[in-house]
């Protein structure tokens, strides 16, 4: 025998309405789509943060494309990093930054005497047993990833062009840096 709508009573009808709307909304959520790719999830960001060279471009692209995710990416980097170096204090920002000190590491920029348009990036780790494999520097819309060789005596040295994205980022007081 068919169930009559009026027979449901107020509670039954209210539940029917709630079930309908929930089913309707569930279907919408599950079929939610669009032409654009959905922003990466936190798991995806975490995988990229923890990943190696193959994920650098995707992390950098996400940083540019989804401004609202910057804070999440930074927070995940904080969580994952062996060392993190904050923005440089305003009082010290008149010139390009040559030294940054953070939690777990310090970074110096030293111009090469041999080739002035090249610069040494010298990373000194507080704990030589924690060996980062990459450096991530973010400033504005730029996210720079630099692969790091294993440290020697707690120090990692990178020689690169002074005009490189890496040196420009590290010399910028607004840049935040993580070693992972």
């Amino acid at each position: 025998m068919s169930v009559g709508w009026r027979d449901l009573g107020a509670n039954g009808q209210a539940l029917a309405e709630a079930v309908y709307t929930a089913l309707d909304r569930t279907a919408e959520l599950r079929t939610a789509g669009g032409d654009d790719e959905a922003p990466p999830s936190s798991s995806t960001l975490w995988a990229w943060v923890m990943g190696g060279a193959e994920t650098r471009d995707r992390l950098a692209a996400t940083w540019r494309r989804y401004p609202a995710l910057k804070d999440d990416v930074a927070a995940l980097l904080d969580r994952a990093a062996v060392a993190s170096l904050p923005r440089v204090a305003a009082a010290a920002t008149e010139d390009a930054v040559a030294r940054r000190i953070g939690t777990g590491a310090a970074i110096r920029l030293l111009p090469s005497r041999a080739t002035p348009d090249q610069t040494y990036v010298v990373i000194t780790l507080d704990d030589p047993d924690r060996t980062p494999g990459q450096l991530i520097a973010v400033t504005g819309d730029d996210l720079v990833v630099q692969r790091l060789d294993p440290p020697v005596d707690g120090t990692i040295q990178v020689l690169t062009e002074t005009a490189s994205d890496l040196v420009r980022a590290l010399a910028d007081a607004e840049t935040r840096v993580w070693l992972l």
């Binding site: 030293l110 090469s112 005497r113 041999a114 080739t115 090249q118 020697v152 040295q157 062009e161």
Partner: protein
């Protein structure tokens, strides 16, 4: 090839790699080998750094500076056969005779060989391949090319393997080549001013400074004259006249320990020679840095030592440092002693800077006038400036663990 500029190439199985330039870099950096002016550091850079930096490295001991950048025109792969070429290039560079950046050369040195801590040249193998490869792909600008190979590998070289214009020189000690090149032979220089010393530039009593002009000093034997007699070689030219040789000025270090654990550092203490930079036991009361002139002619030295470390921010007015400067005659020893504050209970680093020149140099005096006010970065810059002056600079650090009482 005892005079004039010399081009150095490192023999590899892919062809000769020319050393285009050697540049002294900031002492805090690690040495690198780069490809032809680019920022591409070759994978052997770490091994090269170990070859440079004392106490294990040869180069710092030989030329007194711990960090260099070398530019080569071709990659140098794994292995250690590059050591001899790099060592000789550094010695030529220190003597102002390395032909760099394509400058005209009076001779060409082609080298392959390992170099051990005592200057012995070890076997590397595949020399015939390196020779053949050089003959195929390389046209040296000057002839003859002096090809330095390990004695141990001489048997590998078949008759006629060396390209035309190559003159083979099998050697088993770097000093044989040094002598062949006319390096390391002292020459007379004019006398410098008498010794002077400056003690505790900003100190408040914890610094002990000793300037000794005699080898006899409180029971410590002077460092031995370790310049080994040059081995005989059929190719060695007759010895030139004596000249100032910076390497004859040897820096040595002794640790002063409490005589008994109960006495602490207040007592007389005992002194023991140690290798700078080496791990040593706890209970150090003071460090004495000495420079001994083991050469045949007098030299000017500037010796500064300071205790570094975070405690300096706390105890900025009780800086522990010592400084001595002046002319050092052959056989004489000068030293400074520094002690950490008595209340320091954790490890500290003592940094010593030794500058050696043939004669008086007011510019160097100037560098040291305010050195006690210098931060660690300032010290780095001062050292860099001294190197730029072209003098022999030794910049060493030693970690001490003070008495725990």
């Amino acid at each position: 090839m005892t005079t004039g500029r010399v081009r150095v190439v490192v023999a590899t199985t892919e062809g000769p790699a020319e050393i285009r330039r050697i540049t002294a870099e900031d002492p805090s950096l690690r040495s690198v080998i780069c490809l032809a002016g680019t920022s591409q550091a070759l994978p052997i850079s770490n091994a090269y750094d170990a070859f440079v930096r004392a106490p294990t490295g040869m180069i710092e001991r030989a030329v007194g500076h711990p960090a260099f950048r070398v530019d080569v025109d071709r990659p140098i792969g794994d292995g250690e056969s590059w050591q001899l070429g790099l060592y000789l290039a550094h010695r030529l560079k220190a003597a102002g005779r390395l032909a760099e950046d394509g400058a005209p050369a009076d001779g060409v040195l082609w080298a392959t060989g390992r170099v051990d801590h005592d200057g012995r040249i070890g076997s590397v193998g595949r020399i015939d391949v390196k020779l053949r490869r050089s003959g195929e792909s390389w046209r040296p600008e000057a002839a003859p090319v002096l090809a330095i190979v390990p004695v141990a590998d001489r048997e590998q070289i078949e008759e006629g393997a060396a390209p035309a214009g190559f003159e083979l020189l099998p050697v088993d000690q770097v000093d044989m080549v040094i002598q062949h090149l006319g390096l390391g032979i002292p020459r007379p220089v004019r006398a410098g001013p008498p010794w002077r010393f400056v003690g505790g530039l900003a100190a408040a009593g914890v610094v002990a400074i000793v300037l000794v002009l005699s080898p006899a000093d409180v029971g410590i034997e002077p460092p031995p004259a370790v310049e080994a007699p040059l081995p005989a070689s059929t190719r060695v030219a007759s010895p030139p006249t004596a000249a100032f040789e910076p390497m004859a000025l040897r820096l040595a270090l002794e640790e002063k320990h409490a005589q008994t654990s109960d006495a602490g550092c207040a007592g007389a203490g005992t002194l023991a020679a140690v290798e700078p930079g080496a791990e040593t036991v706890a209970g150090v009361c003071a460090l004495r840095w000495s420079v001994a002139n083991t050469g045949a002619v007098s030299a000017h030295v500037w010796l500064y030592a300071v205790v570094e470390g975070a405690f300096r921010e706390y105890a900025s007015r009780t800086r522990s440092s010592g400084y001595a400067a002046g002319r050092l005659e052959p056989g004489a020893v000068a030293s400074v002693t520094v002690a950490p504050p008595s209340w320091l209970r954790r490890a500290a680093t003592v940094r010593a800077i030794l500058v050696v020149a043939a004669g008086e140099r007011p510019q160097i005096d100037q560098v040291f006038t305010d050195i006690d006010l210098a931060s660690a970065d300032d010290l780095d810059r001062k050292v860099a400036g001294l190197i730029d002056l072209g003098v022999h600079v030794v910049d060493r650090r030693h970690r001490l663990i003070p008495s725990l009482r």
